[in-house]
Amino acid sequence: MKRKLVSVVDDDEFVREALPDLLRSFGLEARPFCSAEEFLASDSLGRTGCLVLDVTMPGMTGPELQLELARRRQDIPIVFITANSEPSLRPRLLKRGAVAYLTKPFSETAILEAINAALEIA
């Protein structure tokens, strides 16, 4: 059975508030987490079919969580979102297996396409 859960990890509470609502309007199951640590500690790891992950966060950052999941052999497709436009980071993260790297603000189409692609893989 395909994992359907979309986990949103972002330290910005407004993104945590807005994005799950939008995903739900498309019939997706979405759950927000305020930090990488909270996500790792949750019971959602195994159910998550797509991880929407903020790059810059206090504590463990998005890329660090990516490495941590790889280390734990948790193969969750990741869609990175970031408010910083650092082009150097993008190819590095994609090379490590990320499905997409989206720069905030992103369109509804862009995020949906990326999430759907991720869910396909998962």
């Binding site: 407004f14 993104v15 910083n84 436009s85 992103f106």
Partner: protein, 654 residues
């Protein structure tokens, strides 16, 4: 002569005689004959001569012939020998005897014995002479005493006036010196003085004058010479010699004169001259100093409203030197906008304060000059308020200051822009974050409205969120625009904690990116400060970015940043930024604030220098210190709280 007549004549009680018209003796009466002890025959015709004293004879005989020749009566005194050989003095009177026709027929004469009378006269004369001599003796004695007294007085006067006198016989070179003159020259009064000896005393530098004066004296010129002598004791004395030739001996030039020791006067004069010269020099220095420093001085009599100005002050004010100065005239020159300030300072001065203020003047040529005036009440004149002050023309400094201030503001702006450009990523993050949720919320809203049936409840919620998100984004832009703005430095009440919060908000993601753990500690009820909000935020931004940079390389321990505000004991508001970074080497502590000093590879080294000048512009100070309880450093600034504004509600800017 008839017998009767002869007997009569003989009987006359006088010695009577007659002669022929030619003077030949023809009769001598008996009494005369008896006196002489001569007979008539012995006497006639010219034997009478033997009766006359040989010494008197020439005169008597000459007189007699003169009478006869003239045919006129006469008399002559002569000594006649008595029969016993004793001579007695007689007065011999004679007159011619004439006939009816007036023809001289003979001479008659009478000899009167005047011996007794003469003796008496002589005795009287002798007495008179004796008494006269006695008188003149007494007078002489008196004169001597007076002379002696006068001499003592003279000597005393010479001593007191330190003036010696001399006489100088030029031909024999004989000098006579008074005691005082010897004393002046420190010479034994017994010394025989000649010009070569005097010359030995003369100061070498005065020898030429001395010699030419001696030469002039030889030509009869008066002596008037001031020269120096060196005495045996080595003392140098200033003397002045005056003398003139006395005229009573034409072929022997003799000078009489005086020599005064004027050393004391000379020294006093020299001291006076030195003091005068000193004073003159001091005045010249002062004038020059005033010119160099463009500073004029004045004295103001507040009650009389009279001002005395130095030359330089006239020059600065471009007022004709010598113009009478008073307040109305000053008011004409002062810039109209600064009149209240000058009036206030004048009031202050009268009230006993010491004004120190700036004002502008407008010269007659229409040039505006900046003046700095300091004055204080003179302590020397106590009976009325008298002020002494200085006014400096600070126009150049003021213009330079304004130019510097403009340049500094320009530089501050540039560094601010540079600092903000370092925050570009952070700023983009701050703006993109709300935009991201805004777009997402808008999408959800559209979808809810398009649903069948529309979910209006969620549509409304998400629509409201878009408004909130848009406001969040615009807040960030507003803060940024203020930081980037280039405007005149303002002086307004600033809530330092609020200003700091804004800077920290802009920098938040920068801290995040650098892994900084920010902690802020803002004291409650902090008084506002007066100043330029943007400039102060620039300083705060500079400090927190420096702190961030300092901790970038830190590994293995937390990168803690503490930003705190506090009000210190002296009524100053302090802001400190404490990092736990690499710290500052003690030798670098003092150089940190120098322009173009940097320890960063990409820094220009002007951030702290600009920050310090901004804080100093707020009458505050900025300093750095190494943390004493751990790694890192703390940068702090303190500025005076805004006394006027602290009680008013803070002005919120739009």
């Amino acid at each position: 002569m008839e017998i009767e007549l002869s007997r009569l004549v003989d009987a006359l009680p006088g010695l009577v005689w007659t002669t022929t018209p030619d003077g030949t003796s023809d009769f001598v009466n008996q009494r005369l004959r008896e006196y002489c002890g001569l007979t008539l025959e012995q006497i006639r015709p010219n034997g009478w001569r033997i009766a006359i004293h040989p010494d008197d004879l020439p005169h008597a005989q000459a007189s007699w012939y003169a009478f006869v020749a003239a045919g006129a009566p006469g008399d002559v005194d002569a000594r006649l020998r008595r029969f016993d050989g004793v001579y007695r003095r007689f007065n011999i009177k004679t007159c011619p005897v004439t006939d009816a026709s007036g023809r001289i027929v003979g001479w008659c004469g009478i000899n009167t014995d005047i011996e007794e009378r003469k003796l008496a006269e002589e005795a009287l004369l002798a007495h008179q002479l004796a008494s006269e001599r006695a008188q003149s003796d007494a007078a002489l004695k008196l004169g001597e005493a007076q002379l002696r007294r006068a001499y003592v007085h003279l000597a005393e006067a010479q001593r007191l006036s330190q003036t010696g006198s001399f006489t100088w016989d030029f031909s024999g070179d004989e000098l006579f010196w008074s005691e005082e003159l010897c004393r002046i020259f420190e010479l034994d009064p017994a010394t025989q003085i000649k010009i070569p000896l005097v010359r030995d005393f003369v100061h070498p530098q005065d020898l030429r004058n001395f010699d030419s004066t001696v030469e002039g004296a030889a030509a009869g010129l008066d002596i008037d010479l001031a020269y120096r002598i060196v005495t045996a004791s080595g003392a140098v004395k200033h003397v002045r010699a005056v003398g003139h030739r006395v005229e009573y001996n034409a072929d022997r030039p003799v000078f009489i004169g005086a020599v005064q020791d004027v050393t004391a006067a000379k020294i006093a004069e020299e001291a006076l001259r030195a003091r005068e010269a000193e004073l003159e020099q001091a005045y010249a220095f002062l004038t020059e100093a005033q010119q160099l420093s463009s500073t004029g001085s004045f004295i103001w009599d507040a009650l009389a409203d009279e001002e005395i100005w130095s030359d330089e002050l006239y020059r600065i004010f471009e007022v004709d030197p010598g113009t009478k100065i008073n307040l109305p005239l000053v008011r004409q020159v002062v810039h109209p906008e600064d009149l209240p300030r000058v009036a206030a300072a004048t009031q202050q001065a009268v009230a006993g304060e010491e004004p120190d203020y700036f004002f502008r003047i407008v010269t007659p040529a229409g040039v505006v000059k900046h003046m700095h005036c300091v004055a204080h009440r003179s302590a020397q004149i106590t009976d009325r308020p008298m002020f002494i002050g200085a006014i400096q023309d600070v126009t150049e400094a003021k213009l330079a200051e304004e130019a510097l201030s403009r340049a500094r503001a320009e530089l501050a702006h540039v560094t601010r822009v540079m600092a903000l450009s370092a925050l570009t990523a952070s700023i983009a993050h701050e703006v993109n974050q709300p935009l991201a949720s805004l777009v997402t919320n808008a999408s959800t809203c559209v979808r809810m409205l398009a649903a069948d049936p529309p979910n209006l409840e969620i549509a409304q919620t998400t629509a409201q969120r878009t408004i909130r998100d848009a406001n969040r984004a615009s807040d960030v832009i507003r803060r940024l625009r203020a930081m980037f703005a280039r405007k005149q430095p303002a002086s307004e009440p600033v809530d330092l904690a609020e200003a700091t919060r804004e800077v920290l908000a802009l920098s938040a993601s920068e801290f995040q990116r650098a892994g900084i753990v920010l902690r802020s500690d803002f004291a409650d009820g902090l008084p506002s400060v007066r100043g330029d909000r943007i400039q102060l935020q620039q300083v705060i931004l500079n400090l927190v970015l420096n702190a961030t940079d300092a901790m970038r390389a830190v590994d293995g321990r937390p990168r803690n940043l503490l930003v705190a505000t506090a009000c210190d004991e002296t009524g100053q508001v302090r802001l400190s930024v404490r990092d736990e970074g690499t710290g500052i080497k003690p030798q670098n502590l003092t150089r940190l604030f120098d322009a173009f000093y940097t320890t960063k590879s990409e820094g220009m080294g002007i951030g702290l220098s600009i920050s310090r000048s901004i804080i100093q512009g707020h009458d505050g100070r900025l300093w750095a210190e190494a943390n004493d309880d751990g790694p890192g450093a703390t940068f702090s600034f303190s500025i005076p709280c805004d006394v006027a504004g602290s009680t008013e509600p803070l002005q919120k800017d739009a």
